[in-house]
Point group: C2
Chain length 159, copies 2
């Protein structure tokens, strides 16, 4: 896809499909997080292998957001999930949302989600879903501002 | 895949990859539910279209569970989601879990999830996740018995 430009109060950002060369910066964003810090590694090999899995699945879109200087300031992963329920509804799942601390509070998050909702509609999705850790109260407020409802419990099991 | 047999206290069940001919029975299970009843339709066309989308995506597995008489008594949908986070972890998402009321409390649900966790491991997933409506308190107890933790809020947005 061509770069999607976002213009927020005179600041220019761009949304791109992630490429392999973005992986180190994307992992840096994942690690620069209160919950993510302890979960990530300095070895890039598992991330590059995972990137290739994501990249070859047409129902996955890993996104890189850059500022006007080309610095990577955001990422999220979109997954289209077809399903029988709700009259055969396709849902869009959003995972691994991260904005650099420098980019928070700028309106970039809202603009990025507005674009993601458009992507969902273009692909026939009628529902967007995500889970967020119960301790991320700032994120909860953000998603509620966008119209999301915390209607479900998000259960996880580590194997 | 070949039918996976489940033997529960002398009752025989079988797990299969769903085929198109299963769609009417699977939609019947989705509609036979306190929350699902108002969401489903009598027109099969959208379900058949959705089935074909699911069936052609190698990261999706829609499951049909039958009893010894061949009656469809359960379903769930498994989605493998590769990702960068957690050192490139693949997660398995479980959607659209339904057991016929006749099959609840029999141990079938636990056996079906034990199989799904094995499927996750075989496909390299280290995390299994699902969301369940906050009003489904019986389901919450069930998942907690299986070791799941409600660590996340499940947000949904209808487009």
């Amino acid at each position: 896809m061509a770069t999607i430009p976002l213009d927020i109060d005179g600041h220019r950002f761009g949304i791109d499909r992630a490429v392999e060369a973005d992986v180190p910066a994307l992992v840096g964003l994942l690690a620069d997080d209160v919950l993510g810090a302890g979960r990530e590694s300095l070895d890039l090999a598992p991330y590059l292998a995972a990137f290739r899995e994501i990249d070859r699945d047409p129902n996955q879109l890993l996104v890189t957001v850059r500022d006007a200087d080309g610095a990577v300031v955001g990422t999220l992963q979109l997954t289209l999930i077809p399903g029988l329920a709700r009259q055969g509804a396709t849902r869009l799942q959003v995972e691994a949302v991260r904005l650099a601390s420098s980019a928070r509070g700028s309106g970039l998050g809202s603009a990025l989600f507005a674009w993601a909702h458009g992507y969902a509609r273009e692909h026939g999705a009628t529902l967007v879903q995500l889970t967020t850790d119960k301790t991320r109260t700032d994120a909860h407020r953000f998603y509620e501002t966008l119209g999301y409802r915390a209607s479900h419990e998000g259960y996880k099991l580590h194997l």
